[in-house]
Structure formats: structure tokens, C-alpha cells
């Protein structure tokens, strides 16, 4: 993997997360190296989204355990500080923010005006810059809006929560292209320094983005890791029930 001054991009140790009184994550351990892109597989409700939001610091979560990002303990850090250090996330269901324009947040992320317009055009969102963030966006528009924001932010570690759900083939191809670009997947592995963690339900994004590693999450724990293609084939064949049998 890529050379870097830090040995791991992300290291999650014994992470437990309680949301609204319910334990969602139950001792997660995870490591992502610089330049490495991983997929996170798992059934609905297994805790995948919670893990991503815990990594960026959802303030409503009760957390124990430790999260290291580029070697620094960020467990208690406010979300925006984590973003400044190079984290970025796209949401599966981003909320609509009335009165705040897409352009406002893109400008906030330090993109210059011309470039913002260019990126928005490329993502088919040229007319959306002046619109309220996510308000009345279609499913595909939401995904593209999340992507264009990540393009502006250019994070070192990209967390993607189901970038492929509810997206048609053309949009999926565009989204895959942008993810590869942000992650610099076209560079030779040893020159890559961006990392990714992608939640995918059925693996359709993997037609376009070829991850290095896969994790399977069940009941708030990471139970398995391996080659992404092999994992997804097993899951397609035997379902997550197969995973449960395999680990027990």
C-alpha cells in the first residue's frame, strides 16, 4: 500500500456505541491502511451506518473504545475537527437543510467558485447550487450531491454509506468514476495515499470501484474479513445466514 508518515489511516479499537439506549456496536475492531479501500458488508440493522457515523463523531452517540485517524486519537473530537484532519463522509439519507444552499456548503469546504461550478456541471447539478441543500432532491440527485461535496472536500479517508442504493446504471457509473478519482485508484498502489470505507448492500458499486479488502458486520461486530469478491459471492450464494453458520 501507499507510503505514508502514519502506519494506519484508521484504527478502531473495541468500539461500543449506544444509540438511544440501545447498544448498536459491540466491540468493533478495524484497521484501514493508507491507500487501502475496503467494503463493509452486512445485513440491514447490523450497525454499518452507525460505525461510519461514529467515526465522524455523531454527537448523539454514547461511545466507548478508541478511534485513531492517521495515528491521532480522535474519539472525543468534534465532527468538524475530524473533517479538518481529512475525514469525509457521504450519507445514505442526508437530511434536507432548508435555507442553506448547496453552494454555501461547497464554498465552506474551500472550493473556489469556478471549480465548484465546473464540478457541479459535471455531476449534473449545475442548477442545484442555488437550491436548498437536499430539499426536494431525487434519490439519484442526493447521491450525486453527496459526491460533489466529497469532490470539493477531497478527504484522505472517504466513508461512503451505500453510494449505490437506489441509483440507476448511468448514475452508478458516474458515482463509481468519482469515487475512483477521489481515492486515486488509477494511481499505482504504492502511490495511493487515500483510503476508503464503502458500505454496500448488494455490492453493485464493486462493478466500478475495486476494493482491496472486505469486512462483514453482523450484530454490531466485524466477524469476517477477506477478498471482497469472494465475500460477496459467498453472501450472494448463502446469504448472511451462511456467514452466521460459518463463524459459529
Amino acid at each position: 500500500m501507499g507510503r505514508s508518515i502514519y502506519s494506519s489511516m484508521l484504527e478502531v479499537k473495541d468500539l461500543e456505541v449506544i444509540v438511544g439506549g440501545r447498544k448498536i456496536l459491540d466491540g468493533v475492531n478495524l484497521r484501514i491502511d493508507p491507500g487501502e479501500t475496503c467494503v463493509l458488508l452486512g445485513p440491514n440493522g447490523s450497525g454499518k451506518s452507525t460505525l461510519l457515523q461514529a467515526i465522524v463523531g455523531n454527537p448523539t452517540y454514547q461511545i466507548t473504545g478508541t478511534i485513531f485517524f492517521k495515528g491521532e486519537d480522535i474519539t472525543q473530537m468534534p465532527t468538524n475537527e475530524r473533517i479538518k484532519r481529512g475525514l469525509g463522509i457521504s450519507f445514505q439519507h442526508p437530511p434536507a437543510v432548508r435555507g442553506v444552499k448547496l453552494l454555501d456548503v461547497m464554498e465552506e469546504m474551500h472550493g473556489d467558485g469556478e471549480k465548484i461550478e465546473e464540478m457541479a456541471e459535471r455531476m449534473g447539478l449545475g442548477d442545484f447550487l442555488e437550491r436548498d441543500l437536499n430539499l426536494g432532491f431525487s434519490g439519484g440527485e442526493l447521491k450525486r450531491s453527496e459526491m460533489v461535496q466529497l469532490l470539493t472536500l477531497q478527504p484522505d479517508l472517504v466513508l461512503l454509506d451505500e453510494p449505490d442504493s437506489g441509483v440507476d446504471v448511468e448514475n452508478l457509473e458516474l458515482i463509481g468514476e468519482v469515487i475512483n478519482e477521489i481515492l486515486k485508484r488509477s494511481s499505482k498502489p504504492r502511490f495511493r495515499n487515500r483510503s476508503g470505507l464503502i458500505i454496500t448492500h448488494m455490492g453493485s458499486i464493486m462493478q466500478y470501484v475495486k476494493p482491496d479488502k472486505g469486512f462483514v458486520m453482523l450484530d454490531g461486530k466485524i466477524v469476517c474479513s477477506g477478498k471482497p469478491e469472494e465475500l460477496i459471492n459467498q453472501i450472494k450464494k448463502n446469504g448472511y445466514e451462511g456467514c452466521m453458520k460459518c463463524i459459529n
Binding site: 468538524n80 450519507f91 437530511p95 437543510v97 456548503v105 465552506e108
Partner: protein, 413 residues
Amino acid sequence: MYKLSLEFSKLDKKLREKALKAVDKKALYGEDVDLDRYGEGEKDLSSITNLNELDENERKALTDVGIQEENRSGSYLQFDNSVLLELQIQEGIEVMSIFKALEKYDWLKDYWWNAVAVDQDKFTAYSQLHEPMGYFIRAKPYIKSEFPVQSCLYIKSGGTVQNVHNIIVAEEGSELDVITGCAVGEKTEDALHIGISEFFVKRDATLSFTMIHSWGEGVAVRPRSAAIIEENGTFFSNYVNMRRTKSIQMYPTAYCVGKNSMARYSTVMVAREGSKIDIGSRSVLKAEGSKTEMISRAIGLGGEAYIRGDIEGEAEDVKGHLECRGLMLKDEGFIFSIPELKASLQNLDLSHEAAIGKIAEDEIFYLMTRGLSAEEATAAIVRGFLNVETKGLPKALDEEMRKTIEASLSSML
């Protein structure tokens, strides 16, 4: 004081009789005000030729409500009940004190208490019975104001009732933008502002009226205003009040009497602790094809806010929509949203939406994942909530409204 014409004196006598019958008539809304507590303040302050002659505090108070030296097509400045400045700059746009205008134009008496009823309540009655001062602003036919005309009503002396009666006329085919800033002196406690404003928007004319209120915690404010809009005429009313004010009660009314006329209101208010705010917008659609839109935003910061809205459809093919949104930023005080629609025939389309809520945590978190701090995210959401679309407003006035909102943002969070 200017002399009244004989004819006007006769009219005045009739009005006086009507007013006398209403001196004890309480207003329908808002807390009652004891009018006997107030004196008439300064009536003979000497006039000035430019704003630099004011002292620094006064100048700052005026700047905060959009009053400036440059880029205006005319200026009117009233302190208490004295006219300090009446300045016409653009050819075809008249700006003068109301009594000068009544003396100059005989026809103006037909406009006096034409849109607002003199016996509406004790405040209108008081105004008529106590020699009001005020301004007359008029765009002559087919004249377009290059810059906004500004007027400023300032209360300097404590214990004063500032009694204002204004007439604003946009003649046929004209386009007139007016900004009014209202403010008080730093040490002005316990005052009352009564402001009668009558707007006349003639055929094919457009009138935008932007009012920025910056009264103090001891000031009771009772504007009484109405607009009469003729065929294809458009009236825009924009209002901002971000400061703590003892009490404000107003319910401006737009009468769309001409075919395809239009009235649009944008109202932005903050109810701070100790404020009692009761602000409505009413449109009466009396002519075929007339339209109205109303947008109100209220922030609850411990004070009391009533947001009223009323659309009355009385003609074929009229259309109206009313939107009230409230944002509660404290657990004290209240926002009471009262939208009303009244239809008296079949072929029309009236609607309203009202919503009151808090700032959603998931929205703040989302914005934080875009790099904003919690405070910045909150400010962005509040700013977004208050930045209502101000269609038809010249850019400079739109910026003025935004500037006023921006200036008070930090004090809300």
C-alpha cells in the same frame, strides 16, 4: 405648522367627529396602551441639510436601519414630531412633509384616511386628533426610482408619542422603492409610535416598501397601514424586526381592487424576552385575477409572537398563498401562528401552510460533516430560516434586509 385649506378644514371637521367617537376604542389585537401617559416630544427641532449634522449615536442608529447619505432618490427624516430633513433628489420623485404636500396638492385630501379608517381604533383616532407629522412620497407617472427613497422615523425623547401619518403614491406606470428605518435614541425609554401609512399603487405601477424596525425595549409600536392597488399594480411589503421591543401590533392590509393586481408580503421577526409582537399581513382580493403571497418567519427567543395572516378572496380567479414558519430557540415565550382564509365564491384558489419547530440535530451534525462548527452550523440554519425570498426588491434593499438579519445573528445563538 402649515395652514390647512378651507376645504380640508371641513373634511378635517368630519374626520374629527368620527375620530372623537373612537378615542376609547381598543385595538382588536395587542395589549392596550394608555395614551395619556405620553407627551408630544420635540415639535420644533431645527432642520438639517445632511446626515453628518447628527451626533454619532444618532447616525449609527440610522445606519443600522438602512439610512444613508449615498444612493438614495430622496430622503425624509423625522425626529419625534419634527421634520429634520426633506430632500428630493431624483426628478419626478417627490419627497416632502405631509402638510407641505396637503398644501401643495388639493387632490391629496381625497387620499387622507382613504385606505385606513380614521375610526379603526383609539390609535387612528389619536393620530387625527393630535396634528400628526409624516411624509408624502410620490413617483410621478412612468417615473422609475433609480435608487430607493428613504425615510426615517426616530424617537429622541422619552415619554413621547410619535404621531406619524404618511401617504405614498406610485402613479400610473411608475416604479417606486421606499425604505423606512425606525429607531430610537439610546436613552429613550417608554415611548409610543403611532404610524398611519396609506399606499396607493396606480395602474401598472410597482411599489416596494421595506421597513426595518429597531425600536427599544420601552417602545410600544402601533402602525396602521393599508394599500390600495389598481389594475396590474404590484405592491411589495418587506418587514424586518430583530430587536427587543416592548410591544408591536400591526396588521397591514392590501386591497387588490384592480384586475390582475398583486400584493406580496415578506415578514421577518424575532421575539426576544420581554417583547410582545403581534404582526399580521392581510390581503383582500377584490378584483378578478388578483393575487397575493405572504411569507412570515418568526424566531422565538423568550418573547411572545403572534404571526397572523389573512387572505380574503372576493372575486373570480383570484389566488393567494400564505406561509408562516416559526423557529423556537428557547423554551420560554411562545409563537402563535394564526393563518386565516376566507372565500366568498367558487372560482378561486387560496392556501396556507404553517409550521413551528426547533433546529434539527441531524441537520447540525450533517453540516458539521461538511466542516462547519456546531455554532456555524446553527448560525447557517438560522440565517437560512430568516433569509426569505424578497422578490421584486432591488438588490441594495435586499442586502439591507440581510445585513440587518446578519447583524443580530450572533445575539440569537
